[in-house]
Amino acid sequence: MKIGIPRALLYHYYGPLWEAFFRALDCEVVLSAPTTKATVERGSRRSIDEACLSSKIYMGHAEELLDRCDALFVPRMADEREGIMCSKFEALYDLTENTFRDRRPALVDFEIDRRAKKGERKAFVSLGKKLGKGRLASNLAYFSALRAFEEDRSRRAAALEDSLNADKFKFLVLAHPYVIFDDYVGRPLVELIRAQGAEPVFGCDADFASCLQASYRLTESLPWSFSRALCGAAVLYANRVDGIVLVSAFPCGPDSLVNEILIRRVRNRPILQLTLDAQDGTAGAETRLESFADIIRMRREAGHER
């Protein structure tokens, strides 16, 4: 059985978990190709204008896979650890289904709703069942997938520590993983940071639990757990970098408020806010990032303490 996974949204976070699970159950995994301009255009055609860029990109990937797999994997995720998800992830399954109704898509889904006690393991076991696998096999596949996921997380946390220790000037990049790790919209910015001689430090790679815990020092009532983790990363790492770069897809519900809180409460580092949309891509953002880097480099050279 060929399972298609769009290389978009939470694939950029949970990818290792999902892929390992399907492979452990002898399913073939087909990934969509890295995002290109064409992906964004395709997705935009399938979306309403006002959908966020990340959602448009997702639809572009999903469409690419429709004919290339036996079933497209679309998760539904509601409540996460200590908070909620952007409602996009609650809606994603039905959004995809309704968007491609004319193509009669074969979707395979699972539901994680931690507060409704529909935890991850249960979700994976019932996913296994839908694929015709037994309970035991599904459980085993889940646990091995979990190991793969945790290895990926600790690899990333270690890489983050290395970045923080790099002997360069550093930018803490606070962005959803599917924005900053997207090949078309995020990567160019990352490369630009590197080209400026700076080291990017990815807040979304930090250890989730410690970030959640630290976040309460910055904000009390923030409802979205992924945004909360990014705030935690700001608390933990702001002192160890030279500047902070916020990168958001347009129009992003959570970021529209969370970025403002960060700007108002993280006072000890310069912050640059970049917003990416489907029309302009990264061109404007690149110019602004360049001058931000220039300013920080100059401050450093002038011997400013951070």
């Binding site: 039905d94 968007t99 539901e111 970021d255 529209s256």
Partner: protein, 353 residues
């Protein structure tokens, strides 16, 4: 000194809030001035650009409440971005230099009233619970009554013989509500108003045009935010049906809704999506002449409901007008779109019959 309490403007629902605060908590209530262009300008100026319109409206309203003398602001929580309004708005107002106390109900759970108690204490440390409970009953009745009256008005105002009759009855009712001392007086005022409205002479055709209004919580309920589009349409001679209101008493329980819209959605798509889709489907099945989908620009949950509405529209051949509001939404552009929608609805009906 009792606190001078205020809450952002939200349609006419300040009336029950005022009752709760003055009669229930024995504090003062500062009615924020009616929203104007200035409210928008203030809200727009101090809000992050990409925040949704309701954030900007309510921030502007809080600023005007402070200017009017409020010293304790209350902000609610909610399932979407609304859940984070309070904390950010408080920060923005503090950064602007205002001093005030802030009660952020994001920490409360409305389905468990006991979680509200610590918040009440902040408003008045010596409040009496029985007193508050009595006021709560009256306020709840007010909300029910206002929703019932508004529902009646939306369905009939387009057909009144004497212009202004419904508006006058409604205004009198609201005045009486403000004076009502308890639940009994609220009920009496409500019956009087409903009686009076039933007697208002109307010329309603046997099969009038019927339009359903669905969409996002704040924008749909706040006539200032949606440029009073319901009345504007109604007055062209249409029955306007809207299920979403503060009392929520016209919406069906979530479980039943999920069952009814199963053909379109497998899961709960979050926040107000389910009721939006359910109400739209009801309009479609009952042969309404059109649907208007109302939301603020960038509202993620309502955006995600749109592809479903598009499918319903295709399946049942019912026209849907999608309106997305932000601070730039102009009176004229909106009127033109409503006009065009109205013309289309009329033409379609003629073609069918």
């Amino acid at each position: 000194m009792p606190h001078k309490v205020s809450f952002p403007q939200f349609g006419d629902y300040w009336i029950p809030f005022e009752h709760l605060v003055t009669r229930g908590l024995e504090a003062e209530y500062v009615v924020p001035p009616p929203m104007t262009k200035r409210t928008l300008e203030l809200g727009g100026k101090y809000s992050p650009d990409t925040a949704c319109a309701p954030f900007k409206y309510t921030l502007g309203s809080l600023i005007e409440a402070l200017e009017a003398g409020a010293d304790l602001l209350v902000e609610t929580g909610g399932a979407c971005r609304l859940g984070y309004y309070g904390e950010l708005q408080e920060q923005i107002l503090r950064d602007l230099g205002y001093s005030f106390e802030f009660v952020n109900l994001a920490g409360a759970n409305y389905s468990k009233p006991l979680t509200l108690l610590p918040f009440l204490k902040k408003i008045n440390p010596h409040y009496s619970l029985p007193r508050f409970a009595m006021a709560g009953l009256a306020a709840a009745k007010m909300v029910d009554g206002m929703d019932a009256v508004d529902d009646f008005v939306r369905k009939n105002i387009g057909f009144e013989r004497e212009a202004g009759a419904f508006e006058a009855a409604r205004a009198d009712f609201f005045r009486e509500l403000r004076a009502a001392a308890d639940r009994k007086e609220v009920s009496a005022a409500l019956s009087r108003c409903l009686e009076r409205m039933k007697k208002i002479p109307t010329d309603k055709p046997e099969r009038p045009y019927r339009i359903g209004v669905v969409g996002e919580y704040y924008t749909i309920m706040d006539p200032f935010s949606n440029h009073n589009l319901e009345w504007e349409l109604a007055k062209k001679g249409m029955v306007i049906e809207r299920w979403m209101n503060l009392s929520g008493n016209r919406l069906e329980p979530a479980k039943k809704v999920r069952e009814k819209i199963r053909r379109y959605t497998k899961y709960n798509m979050g926040v107000t999506c389910m009721s939006t889709i359910d109400c739209a489907l009801t309009c479609a099945k009952k042969g309404y002449d059109g649907i208007i989908h109302v939301k603020s620009f960038g509202c993620t949950p309502e955006n995600d409901a749109i592809p479903v509405l598009q499918n319903i529209s295709r399946d049942y051949k019912i026209p849907v007008l999608y309106l997305s509001f932000d601070l730039q939404t102009g009176e004229e552009g909106l009127s033109t779109r409503l006009e065009a929608f109205y013309d289309m609805v009329v033409m379609r009906k003629r073609a069918w019959s």
